[in-house]
Every structure is written in C-alpha cells, then in structure tokens.
Symmetry: C2
DNA sequence: CAAGTATTGTTAGATTTCTTACTATTTTAA
DNA sequence: TTAAAATAGTAAGAAATCTAACAATACTTG
C-alpha cells in the first residue's frame, strides 16, 4: 500500500479536529467544576498537575495561548483557589504558578476520568499497536518542534 | 516497553499543540493571500478542494466551527471570489459551497507548499514508519468518532 | 392532511482569544 | 558602568468563535 506525505497530514488534521473537543468536553460535563471555567482552565490545571511549579510564560506557551490571553486565565484560577502565584527570588519578572490542594483534588478527578475515557476509546488497539502509535507520534512531534 | 493509555493521550495532545499552528502559519506567511483571511478560511478552501461541492452545515462540522460562526466565514470567501453558493434544487434549505477557478488556483498553491512542508518534516521517517503512523491514527480517529 | 418535530442557515449578543503597546526587570556588550 | 536588547507580564481594543433564538423548509406520524 502506497502512502504519501499528504496522507499523513490528512490523518493528523482529522485527528486533531475530533479528539481534543471530545476529550475536554467529557471532562467538563462529568466533573463538578465552576461554570466560569472552560477548556483553557482545565488544560492549565492539567499541565501544572503533570509538570509542577512552572513560570507563566512557559505555561501559556505549552497550552498555546498568547501571553496576553493567559493573564486573565491565571487570574481566574487564582481567584477560584486552584492555583497560587509565587514570585521568583532571583528574577523579579517571573511568577511561578502551582496547584493548591483544591487544584490537586480537582486534577485527580480529571485524571481518573481521563483514564476511563482513553481506556474506552482504545480498547480495540492491541498493546503493540498502541506502542507503534505512540512512537510514531512522538517522532513526528519531535520533528515538528525542531523545525519550527 | 510498557505503555499505558495516558501515554497515548499525552502524545496526541502534544502533537495537536505543535503541528497545526506551525502548518497553517507556514501557509499564511508564504502565500499571496488577502489580509482578511485567516486559518479558518484556508481550512475551508482546503476542505472544499478535497471534497468538492459540499453543503454548508457539513463544511462547518468538518472544520469544527459552529454553524453560527461559519456563516460569516463563507460570506467572506464568496465576497473574495474563492467560492460560490449553489442552492439545492430539491431541498431549499441547503446551500452547497464550491470553489471557483480563483479558489482552485489558490488551493493548488497551498497544496504545493503543504507537500514541501510535510516532506521536510517527515524526512526522517521510513516508508514503513509512515504507514504505521497513518494506520494507527486512522484507527484512533475512527474510534473517537464512533463514540462521540 | 395536519400538527408537531427536526434540520438548515442567519442573526445578535456574550465570551474567548489575539495583537499591539507598555512597564518593569534582567541580560548583554561596548 | 551604562546603553541597548531581551524577557515577563499587564492592559486595552480588535477579531474570532460560541450560544441561543429565530425563520424557512422538510420530515413524521396520527
């Protein structure tokens, strides 16, 4: 079976459009989360849960939000008590963000649902297929990043 | 090597955040496109180039835009002369969209760049790796869609 | 056939995100 | 040391998208 590069990108685009919205919508529907929060807030908490204390500019970059858009997002999460802002002692420009206990509790709930969801969606793949999928995507991701 | 479902999704999320923006930014920077057009307009033309004449609601669904948001997008593309609206003879609610000659010319240019870009990004993958990547992603995409 | 229901597309107002300009701080280098 | 450049974050207005209500048309079913 012949494949070309267009096929790769068609698949990726396809994927992008389907997965993320389904994924985060599920979170928002099934968890007890304040109405004022949207997918961006969830993504932010999710990232902090995985990476721990992180400077604002780095978080905003990783969740693909301009820094100008991220300020109010962080502000709201602080307001809601899910994260705190911690000034860097050396570089006064920098604020680190990290989860509070309430934030950790919330992200734990999210991760539980996350696992269930992925479990359900990937039942059909064998273990070997999963590994191939992951390594292929990691390769491509690394390439993309390098070339940017 | 042990893998779990979390790995899959971390990879996918990672992928999503890097690829698409790089991809379409490249298009917008390198092509002679009216300033008023953004990624959404490009995606719309791209879709119509691949699928041909398509009802509005279907296009909006495929590019992940609410129908309410899509109306002005289609309007602008018509205004710019890249697509036309064609009423369905049987069902008077439906408007088909399709590319004009100008639209085809533009998407041809895009596809050329597209190929170059993908070529550059995927040089490192062997043909077999590409196939695995594609089939894996297609499987997952299909699953996602089914469960939604 | 009639009445209710679903679908397609539009509109208007709310929300989210982007862009640009700005301040404060840090780093670089002449 | 000091001037210039880079970086982190904020603010305000512009642009994009979403939501909800609506009009027109099509479908369903009693």
């Amino acid at each position: 079976m012949k494949t070309n590069n267009d096929d790769i990108f068609k698949s990726i685009i396809e994927l992008q459009h389907t997965i993320m919205s389904a994924f985060y919508k599920r979170f928002l529907d099934n968890l007890d989360i304040p109405d004022q929060m949207n997918q961006t807030h969830i993504r932010t908490l999710h990232y902090l849960a995985i990476k721990g204390s992180t400077p604002m500019h780095k978080v905003s970059k990783r969740i693909s939000l301009e820094k100008g858009s991220f300020t109010p997002v962080a502000k709201k999460l602080i307001e809601l008590g899910y994260i705190v802002r911690i000034k860097d002692a050396n570089d006064k420009r920098i604020s680190f963000l990290e989860l509070t206990d309430a934030g950790k509790k919330l992200t734990d709930g999210i991760h539980k649902l996350h696992s269930q969801y992925v479990e359900e969606k990937t039942k059909v793949l064998t273990g070997e297929e999963k590994e191939l999928l992951i390594s292929g995507m990691n390769t491509l991701t690394a390439l993309m990043k390098k070339c940017r």
